[in-house]
Assembly symmetry: C2
Homo-oligomer: 207 residues x 2
């Protein structure tokens, strides 16, 4: 059975949703960032990078959301969560998720994790001030790419739970969601899926 | 034929090397970041994100290094640049590359591109000061993972040209390479490969 180490309100939600969409047999282990669980010895033995998500498989531990999402899609092909038989289509899926990970999530991270990139409180505050603008710029790029009901068009893929997860943070990042009507419609569409509702319930402790 | 838009001394080198390793038929288009080519209208029509690399394929444009590397590996399977038949092994490859893209390259980017995340010159200078420490922290994680001659062990994969490319920047980022003997040995090993030498020669204008 797969075991997902997650923390509420983080990007691990994307993998959690994908596991449910895939019909995977999984268990959850919750970390509390408030208690700094991710830096405790027992978790560092799982993931020395001190981040979530981490997925414990029968063959070992995997990390990094784009890799986990593709793994879930490839391991449970019946769910058709990624077009593994089409190199170009798969690359589009991966490019979208890589952008979310390396650009959009990174822009967002400057609100709460500025200490990763500067020491001075003034610099960290300066980063925080720019988050609404830099995150909005990323969502401009996403908004431009959306046309169908799902990120890749008519097919629901591993791009969708990832975008849904990061779009949870719009308001807290000081971004006006009304600027991004397609992203908002996508967020609502995802929120109606049973897998998303189950993942959110499990993470809230109600599941 | 594939067409790669690249800029010298950027991460596009990784895809360039992979194309050669794969035996792909490709052409190159050089952008000058000094001339801001990446923000000119004709390039924005190719890649509205104003970044390199971009790969023009028969089916359309692809971007984002981890996606391009996996695309090259999947499209040219004879070169065996990624284990597409093994979901766990492929996820390890993708996790490594995703970490390089979203964490190591991002740490590096705070030296020259701090304006993405803050406006004040003092904050941008503060980011620059922390680069040796933050980039070193990323290379600590990489050093810990290296054991074989190549990133994934005995098999040369799409992780190797990507790590080689980012390890080009160690000295300029103010990192002491002697702290990372495995990374250095890997860099030397890569530099001996004909594909790497050809890519560097092509990018220097000597190819």
């Amino acid at each position: 059975m797969l075991k997902l180490f997650y923390a509420p309100s983080t990007c691990s939600l994307a993998t959690h949703i994908a596991l449910i969409e895939a019909g995977a047999d999984y268990s959850l282990v919750r970390l509390s960032f408030a208690s700094d669980d991710q830096r405790k010895a027992d978790y560092l033995a799982i993931n020395p990078k001190a981040r979530v998500p981490a997925l414990v498989t029968e063959q070992g531990v995997l990390t990094e959301t784009p890799a986990l999402l593709a793994y879930v899609a490839q391991r449970f092909p019946a769910a058709r969560l990624a077009p593994f038989d089409d190199p170009f289509a798969l690359a589009r899926v991966q490019a979208f998720n890589s952008y979310l990970c390396s650009t959009l999530h990174v822009a967002h991270a400057h609100r709460m994790r500025g200490y990763r990139w500067a020491d001075e409180p003034e610099a960290i505050a300066a980063m925080r001030r720019k988050v609404p603008e830099s995150v909005s710029g990323c969502f401009d790029a996403v908004e431009r790419e959306l046309s169908g009901p799902w990120v890749m068009g008519d097919a629901y893929t591993i791009c969708d739970p990832y975008l849904f997860t990061l779009a949870q943070w719009l308001e807290a990042d000081g971004v006006d969601p009304a600027r991004f009507p397609r992203v908002l419609a996508h967020r609502r569409r995802c929120a109606e899926r049973p897998a998303v509702q189950r993942a959110l319930a499990e993470e809230s402790g109600a599941g």
